[in-house]
Symmetry: C2
Subunit: 429 residues, 2 copies
């Protein structure tokens, strides 16, 4: 049932009243350079922030066996984080509303070369209405919004009339095992909301993602015997060419996939990292290439993995050097299916009203071609999972920044959503 | 004047008598993992070995200003070795013969992945008549031969009747600045012999070599904005393609170059090392590629450098991403001209006789498409420079090894060459 207009105004005012603190808290989060494996300190900071608000706290490690046994679990390599998952639990006095998971991740992608940043990536700064810093948009602003939308209700003496889990996870940028671990821990709700930087839109459909490492090796030679050896760097690029053909074939399949039929290039193969060879004057004998590729919702990671392996093996048979030195393909990260948010859910309707009230615009939805932790709740809990968040620029790139006016609108929409979805009750005197 | 047959026999017997010790000394040298910058300890070992034999000793550092001012000097980067150059000086009682430089280098190229070696690269072992180990062939066996060919003469009470400089240098695998520094120090002789692993042949012509680093950079993007960004790893390979066209054009010029007119592919462009990108799911914004390319004798490094820069710049203008983000080319190593050993020198005739006596075969010559320190003496001293040495396998690759029977033949030929070129005198009683 739509909220009373006066209440809506009070909630949005309360969000505005807390917004300076919300920005400051977001900046605190950005100061932690929480790249993969380096999220211990920031998770402790989040733990303290939740505990200080009176939530019941849970903090737990990855259960590697349970992850390995789950069809959506990604391989746990040496680079895998062992930072904990943190959950703050709100339990109402009377459970009358619908329960909710509010989730965010604290891991951020590497900043890359410092020279490409206008200002140091882990020294957050507000410039012309944008908060700059690596991970500010993706997605520490969202993490802060999870806390501050609830704080806004509290500021006017109210709290959700249903259980809310505020979940802070890791490994969103490499495996998605953090969100999966929260699921495996047993947390369940009737909807989930994850405020990723989504340009004030709702994710309707989301690709799955696979990571893989291509390794090419073979006998090198002194340059005077170059014909006798083979250049592993050149050979790796020939294999990449074959994988680009697979990418093109997958994109030609787009019209067959609901929600992707008008996307120009939904399936991206990214050659993200390369390393090979030891010496300019030695023919390189090894080259490693780290790739990610998307898959349409409904495609199984194992099927895509087999397709990649087949492309590489088939191409290698046509190439004299590679035939003698078959490349290896290892799946070393994301092993994730995509998902579709089916239109028509009550959760989406509630978010639509909240969004319209907070922004003055109708809620639009779109297809996201990147991995999202939302897949865990959409696929394995089969609940409405709303991935929706503020306007940003430069995520996974340089001068990453989140628009603060947008962040306030989104936080307002989230507070209104929580109020209508969970219902409200007065805080005990 | 050809040597007396009985003396030849005595010299070759003396080489045979010392060969077990010569193998042991070569093994000692191989145990030093003397990659670039790591040659201090082995140079001290060589210093002691020369000093123990009674040579006058000189040991000196690179004169960076003098190298920079010389047309054959290569750029001194952070990776440049600061190990010393070592020279042992034999002065005869009576200077009646022709003076000689015997040179070798102690620096070795990286071993690369340990898994590709049958045995540890710096634990030398003799297997089936081959001495295995990184740098054994290229060229610690040659360094030992320089010492032991003189030792053989001494064993029968004789020594060269002319000044001989036994020079142990560094930086042969990256810049050639070590040999250049010995020249800049002022050492001069009437011929030079460098026993690189040359398959028992004499180098008639040798290419020059340039090293360069191609750096491609540009604005990356999150994968969902992939079209807006550009992949620096992909872009780097497009530039490599343009450089391969240059390589092909250079090889088509082979018929115009004396001593190269029947070579199928004298000019090799080697893409030796590559590194780029930070994260599989971020579009890479940087890629560095370390290359080496050969040049025909007579071509100036500066001219080839301009040609490379023009190829890269011209190609970049045709490529939307690269036009907006022009690649950089930095010359960070070899800046070396090639040379030709003109036929007909007396030094070559003397080596021819020595080789025939030691091996029973006529001395053949060939074109070497790789850098050789011999260029310093050929180009800047304008003396006959004989690059000639034993049979080997796997140099700059794996299971590098030198054939010991060949090494003994070569050492014998070197001793005969010294005897005839320098003349002999009895060691003072």
């Amino acid at each position: 049932m739509p909220l009373d207009p006066a209440l809506r105004e009070r909630i949005l005012s309360a969000v505005a009243d807390g917004f300076a603190d919300q920005i400051a808290f977001t900046q605190e989060l950005v100061r932690f350079p929480s790249t993969r494996g380096q999220e211990h300190a920031v998770q402790d900071h989040v733990f303290r922030a939740l505990k200080a608000r009176g939530y019941a706290m849970d903090r737990f490690a990855m259960d590697r066996e349970a992850i390995a046994a789950h069809p959506g679990g990604a391989p746990v390599t040496d680079e895998h984080s062992d930072a904990p998952i943190v959950v703050g639990i709100h339990r109402p006095r009377t459970e009358t509303g619908r329960s909710l998971i509010l989730q965010a991740h604290v891991d951020v992608v590497p900043a890359g070369p410092a020279a490409m940043w206008t200002r140091p990536p882990f020294e957050p700064a507000v410039v012309d209405g944008w908060l700059h810093g690596r991970g500010g948009a993706d997605m520490k602003a969202g993490l802060a919004a999870n806390l501050f939308c609830l704080d806004a209700l509290r500021r006017i003496g109210l709290q959700p009339a249903a259980t809310v889990y505020v979940q802070s996870v890791v490994e969103e940028e490499a495996t998605g095992n953090g969100a999966l671990m929260a699921h495996l821990r047993g947390y369940r709700a009737e909807a989930a909301l994850i405020p990723e930087p989504m340009e004030e839109q709702l994710v309707r459909a989301n690709t799955g993602v696979l990571w893989f490492r291509l390794s090419v090796g073979g006998t090198p030679a002194h340059l005077r015997e170059m014909g006798a050896g083979a250049n592993a760097i050149d050979a790796a690029y020939r294999v990449i060419g074959a994988l680009r053909d697979l990418e093109a074939a997958l994109n030609r399949e787009a019209p067959q996939h609901r929600h992707f039929d008008d996307a120009a290039h939904p399936i991206n193969l990214n050659v993200g990292r390369i390393e090979g060879g030891d010496w300019p004057s030695s023919v390189p004998c090894w080259c490693r290439v780290d790739c990610r590729i998307a898959l349409y919702p409904g495609m199984k990671p194992a099927d895509m993995a087999r397709r990649i392996e087949a492309v590489v093996a088939d191409f290698a048979r046509t190439d004299p050097f590679l035939a003698a030195n078959p490349p290896e393909v290892a799946f070393n990260g994301f092993w994730a299916e995509g998902y579709v948010l089916e239109p028509g859910s009550e959760a989406e309707a509630v978010l639509g009203r909240a969004h319209a009230e907070a922004t003055g615009e109708a809620l639009r939805s779109f297809m996201s071609p990147c991995y999202l932790d939302a897949r865990v709740y959409a696929l394995y809990d089969r609940i409405p999972t709303l991935c929706y968040g503020p306007i940003s620029q430069g995520i996974h790139a340089f001068d990453e920044r989140v628009n603060l006016a947008s962040l306030q609108r989104i936080t307002g929409a989230m507070a209104l959503f929580v109020a209508e979805w969970c219902g409200l009750e007065e805080i005990a005197p």
